[in-house]
């Protein structure tokens, strides 16, 4: 780092980071330098220490300091006072918390609920509701859970649960799964999709998977289930599953590499898994099927649109932020799986009322149904200036692993190529920028 230009560049990167203004490209650059250069790390820590000290000293700034006389002193000092109070009260708050926690510990112990499963992987926003209706968004990998309901709050949510016998189930996207294990595993998929890798179960107590339209009995297998209000699609990768349609009680055995669609509109019959395709186009004009967002029908002048809708993570998670997200399901339900060759292009058309950074992403899974990651790219606000309508064409190389899945990067593929595309999504952060999707095309 002796080159003056490089030094200057490093300093700029550090400043951008310290002021929360760094972009993805700059962050990659900063990361690479910090990883390889101990001297750069020393400079980084020194700069951040300077920031920290100035933060502290800013708090102790005398509000009577009227050297800039025209400043709105009253407003300024109340804000400073507020933050100073926050910091100086930290210890007092800590002391009170400790005393309260100590005194309440005997009463706070939950009733001895049976822990039935462990969270073995997760990312994105999730909500868990346990027995007795306790709701928590503060779940973490390694937490042991009693029976309850887990809900993916946005299209980017993902969660994997491991039962004591090693069986795993995972939900992806905006899905809702209730599970229990009182000697027999019972799952209710309210909506969305989930995959499971089920260890051998007792023939007397198979795993039961309920949806609105079907019941699946599983003795040991890999499978995927997609459910909506009127139909459920079961895809079996390994083993056999008995599927029963609720409306008439009819049931069939579904062998490996087959699927069945439980719906009143069609015969309940196992069929071989369809060949994958590499081309796909959204059909938003048909309605909001497997979408997430606010759907508006098309008119003579305007195509159908899917507006991004807000989701605010609350303070319990430490992330008091709002995402405005729209998502289109791709390989869901009855449609053949869409697998993208490496040279594929993704074309997204839509509109944005105000220029803003937009995150474009793909959620993908392996052919056996296992979660394979979320990949995203961020286009800066400058890409959307000039007019409200936009068309974005992305290569698969443009996408990189979502940073929140970095802890899994050794296990996940490097990119989305040759994997089944589960959904295409986009979002803006913090600001309601009026983001909407009008069409998505995946082309080989």
């Amino acid at each position: 780092m002796s080159d003056p230009h490089t030094n200057q560049n490093l300093e700029t990167l550090i400043q951008q980071y310290a002021y929360g203004a760094i972009n993805a490209e700059q962050l990659d650059e900063l990361e690479a330098v910090l990883k390889s250069d101990p001297d750069a790390r020393r400079r980084f820590l020194s700069e951040m220490n300077l920031h920290s000290t100035l933060d502290d000293l800013a708090l102790s700034l005398d509000s009577d300091d009227s050297t800039i006389s025209s400043i709105d002193i009253a407003n300024h000092s109340s804000l400073v006072q507020s933050r100073r109070t926050k910091r100086t009260n930290l210890l007092a708050l800590l002391a009170v918390c400790l005393l309260v926690v100590a005194s309440l510990v005997p009463f706070m112990k939950p009733q001895q609920e049976q822990r039935v499963a462990l969270i073995s992987g997760m990312s994105g926003s999730l909500q868990w509701t346990g027995d007795g209706g306790r709701v928590s968004r503060n779940v973490e990998v390694g937490d042991e859970l009693s029976g309850g309901t887990i809900e993916g709050m946005t299209p980017e949510s993902w969660f994997e649960l491991t039962f004591e016998d090693g069986s795993t189930v995972s939900i992806s996207g905006h899905s809702m799964l209730t599970y229990a294990d009182n000697g027999q595993k019972v799952l209710h998929l309210k909506s969305g999709s989930f995959s499971a890798n089920v260890a051998k179960q007792s023939p007397q107590k198979p795993m039961l998977i309920h949806t609105r339209s079907a019941l699946f009995e599983v003795l040991g297998t890999r499978l995927n289930v997609d459910a909506d209000l009127s139909s459920s699609t079961l895809t079996v990768t390994e083993g056999r599953v008995r599927a029963t349609r609720r409306s008439d009680g009819e049931s069939v055995e579904v062998p490996a590499q087959h699927r069945v669609i439980a719906s009143i509109e069609r015969e309940l019959r196992p069929e071989k898994l369809p060949e994958s395709v590499s081309q796909w186009g959204s059909q938003l004009y048909h309605g909001p099927t497997t979408t997430y967002g606010k759907w508006i029908a098309g008119s003579e002048d305007l195509p159908a649109r899917l507006w991004a809708i807000p989701y605010t993570a609350d303070k319990e998670t430490g992330r008091d932020i709002t995402l405005y997200t729209a998502s289109v399901g791709v390989s869901t339900g009855e449609t053949p799986p869409v697998v993208l060759p490496p040279q594929s292009k993704i074309r997204i058309r839509g509109r944005l009322d105000h220029p803003n950074h937009v995150f474009f992403g793909l959620t993908v899974r392996h052919r056996n149904g296992d979660f394979a990651g979320r990949f995203q790219t961020i286009l800066p606000a400058e890409s959307f200036t000039g007019k409200n309508e936009f068309e974005v064409i992305l290569n698969l190389d443009d996408y990189s692993l979502d940073p929140s899945l970095e802890f899994l990067k050794e296990k996940l593929p490097k990119g989305p190529a040759e994997l089944i595309v589960e959904s295409v999504w986009c979002h803006t952060l913090f600001d309601q920028a009026g983001l909407a999707i009008t069409s998505v095309e995946l082309n080989p």
Binding site: L27, M48, V80
Partner: protein, 189 residues
């Protein structure tokens, strides 16, 4: 008083003493620990959030702290806890924010633990150097670190160009850093 009551009283006394000792150490060293945390996180608010967790975890684990009353040992011990809390916090917000990877944060945390004494000297030097600036310039430099204040706001109040004040803040930071370097060099000789 029977044995049970005596034992309980002794236990309570020991807990009180341990609590007093913890609060005293934490209060004295909070600034150093926070500075360590802030060095690894992109915003002051992140550091505040993590510090609350650090305080609670330190107390929960205080019985395992085997050091004496030396502030350095306590800070070092607390910073190990803080490192894990920073990484945990990072996992929570990494989904939606641009943040350094766990690998790089871990490297930085190791380096930061080694340079704790240097960081403390740097802080003292910054304070000293800041006091040497004229009040008006000090106020401008601190405006970017004060909630509710900003260079843009100062510029609007002054009727000056934001760009010009940014340039001035950058120059003031440089002056401050050169002063800190001199101070540090003096301390080392």
């Amino acid at each position: 008083m029977d044995d049970f009551a005596n034992n309980k009283q002794n236990d309570d006394l020991a807990k009180d003493q341990q609590y007093d000792r913890f609060v005293s150490l934490f209060a004295r060293q909070e600034r150093s620990i926070r500075s360590f945390v802030r060095s690894l996180l992109p915003t002051s608010n992140d550091a505040d959030d993590v510090m609350q967790e650090v305080g609670l975890v330190c107390w929960k684990k205080f019985s395992s702290f085997e050091g004496d009353e030396s502030p350095e040992e306590f800070v070092r011990w607390a910073c190990v806890i803080a490192r894990f809390e920073v990484l945990r916090h990072r996992r929570n917000f990494a989904r939606d924010r641009l943040v350094l990877s766990e690998e790089v944060l871990s490297l930085l945390a190791c380096d930061a633990e080694e340079r704790l004494p240097v960081a403390e000297r740097e802080r003292q030097a910054v304070e000293k150097c800041l006091n040497k600036l004229p009040p008006r310039e000090r106020r401008l430099l601190l405006s970017v670190h004060t909630p509710g204040d900003s260079i843009a706001k100062v510029a609007a109040e002054f009727g000056q160009e934001v760009r010009r004040l940014y340039t001035k803040v950058t120059a003031l930071r440089e002056v401050l850093k050169q002063c800190v370097s001199r101070q540090m060099a003096e301390l080392e000789t």
